[in-house]
């Protein structure tokens, strides 16, 4: 749970509950973008840093790719995090 993983916002799926569909290394899940509200929110195409199902910061694409590269090299821990993300159903 200590990792923060970059994902790209695909769509806002629940305006009222501030939920967005994100693509994280090919896995598409819903996360909350409510913590970005004071920072202009999130729109499709934005890259965000995701921690326990919440976008905690907007990042640029270069940062996102570099971070993903780093995570991939971590091996099991990253795979574990992705496996937990795959099991997540936020609605």
């Amino acid at each position: 749970m200590c990792l923060a993983i970059p994902g790209q916002v695909v769509a806002i799926v629940d305006e009222q509950n501030r939920l967005a569909r994100v693509d994280v290394a090919g896995v598409r899940r819903n996360v909350s973008v409510g913590l970005l509200d004071a920072d202009g929110g999130a729109t499709p195409g934005d890259w965000v840093l995701i921690h326990v199902g919440f976008a905690i910061s907007r990042i640029d694409e270069e940062e996102a790719r570099a971070t993903l590269g780093l995570l991939e090299q971590m091996g099991t821990e990253y795979e574990q995090e992705l496996a937990e993300l795959k099991g997540s159903v936020i609605e």
Binding site: M1, C2, L3, A4, N17, V31, S32, G34, L35, L36, D37, A38, D39, L49, H51, V52, G53, F54, I56, S57, I59, D60, E63, A66, T67, G69, L70, Q73, M74, E77, Q80, E84, L85, G87, S88, V89, I90, E91
Partner: protein
């Protein structure tokens, strides 16, 4: 330079390493603490310590949220999970953390309903789907994680999910750092600040480290190059006799932090008068409980809990590891009685823990320290 070729830019890594080497005074030891367990992990994964001159020693700090949960709180979580009709939802990292009579994993094997969730919002969904069960979210984490729990509780309140509650163990970064910096035998020349915590609280929030304790602090990103650059920035301050809070991770972290996150933390939580940290003892105002406004969602008020203080196992030296007083291999049970498979202490359970990082990356021996 074992891993330097795996760096995104090996040439830059070498250049940073030689700049850092030029900043040390020969024979003069400098001790830097990386506060965050994520940094510890990167340092050992990439053998960054081996890129540094012998004069620089990196010690590990108290910034792994799994590592600092005391035994008594794990026991309470197990007691909650063992109640009839109750489901305990927790992060996977908590499953193997030892309590005084076993872990959540063992409780689950013995029949308790413990479910691993990715997000507190998954715990809330379980509560919605299974209205006949009491669903308790076992919340842990520093300021990085606290706003996520807070937003989840705000939503539970708005939707009136009556069978959902939170066993809150969120902790704050400033009080343990102050406790560390207040220690009379403090031997620390600078700090590498936690990047993700700073995303929420802002790099400005670490101002006290420089202003009150006269130590440089550099908020750092998580790539090996980030850490090298942050170490260089800290060493440059030391060489120039300056001390300030600097932000190496400016591409993600802003000075004032995340306003929405700070606001929801304020709304949902209230500081506890005191809280016990594994290995560090009680630290005043170091943790968050639910605010009175959210009392109805507080598992501690919903269920009677022992709340007992359980002493750490006698052979455990996690406290000394968490304050940088000893290196993991100096613990008397490291790699023998305490391994990731059979952990005595939390620093070996969490992959972010210093002991696990040492162990997993083959630092079983004193070799490096002996030559350093």
């Amino acid at each position: 330079m074992r891993y330097v070729d795996e760096f995104r830019d090996a040439g830059l890594a070498r250049a940073l390493a030689s700049r850092i080497a030029s900043l040390v005074e020969p024979g003069r030891r400098r001790k830097l603490m990386e506060v965050c367990g994520g940094h510890t992990h990167t340092i050992y994964r990439y053998a960054i310590d081996e890129l540094l001159p012998a004069e620089i020693e990196l010690v590990h700090g108290p910034g792994c949220p799994v590592c600092v949960i005391p035994m008594g709180r794990v026991d309470d979580a197990i007691a909650i999970a063992g109640r009839d009709g109750v489901t305990l939802a927790c992060f996977g990292d908590m499953m193997r953390v030892p309590g005084s009579a076993g872990s959540l994993q063992e409780a689950s094997a013995a029949g308790a309903d413990v479910r691993v969730v990715y997000s507190p919002l998954d715990a809330l969904r379980i509560a919605r789907e299974e209205p006949g069960r009491e669903v308790v979210f076992f919340a842990i984490g520093f300021e990085t994680t606290a706003p996520s729990t807070a937003l989840t509780l705000r939503r539970a309140r708005a939707e009136g999910v009556a069978n959902f509650s939170c066993f809150c163990n969120h902790v704050l970064i400033e009080p343990p750092l102050r406790a560390l910096l207040d220690s009379p035998d403090l031997d620390l020349d600078g700090l590498i600040g936690p990047g993700h915590v700073a995303t929420i609280i802002g790099s400005d929030a670490f101002g006290f480290v420089a202003a009150e304790y006269g130590r440089p602090l550099v908020v750092s990103g998580f790539e090996p190059l980030d850490l090298l650059r942050s170490i260089e920035m800290a060493m440059l301050q030391i060489a120039e006799g300056r001390c300030a809070v600097e932000n190496q991770y400016g591409r993600v972290v802003a000075g004032p932090g995340n306003a929405a996150a700070l606001a929801v933390i304020d709304e949902v939580f209230a500081p506890r008068p005191t809280f016990e940290w594994r290995g560090l003892g009680f630290i005043d105002s170091s943790a968050l409980g639910l605010a009175d406004d959210y009392a109805d969602l507080d598992a501690e008020r919903r269920f009677p809990l022992a709340g007992a203080r359980v002493a750490d196992p006698r052979e455990c030296q996690c406290g000394e590891v968490l304050t940088g007083a000893i290196k993991p291999w100096e613990c008397r049970v490291f790699g023998t009685a305490c391994t990731p498979e059979h952990a005595i202490g939390t620093c070996m359970v969490s992959p972010e823990g210093a002991c696990a990082a040492y162990y997993n990356y083959g630092r079983h021996t004193r070799q490096r320290e002996a030559v350093g």
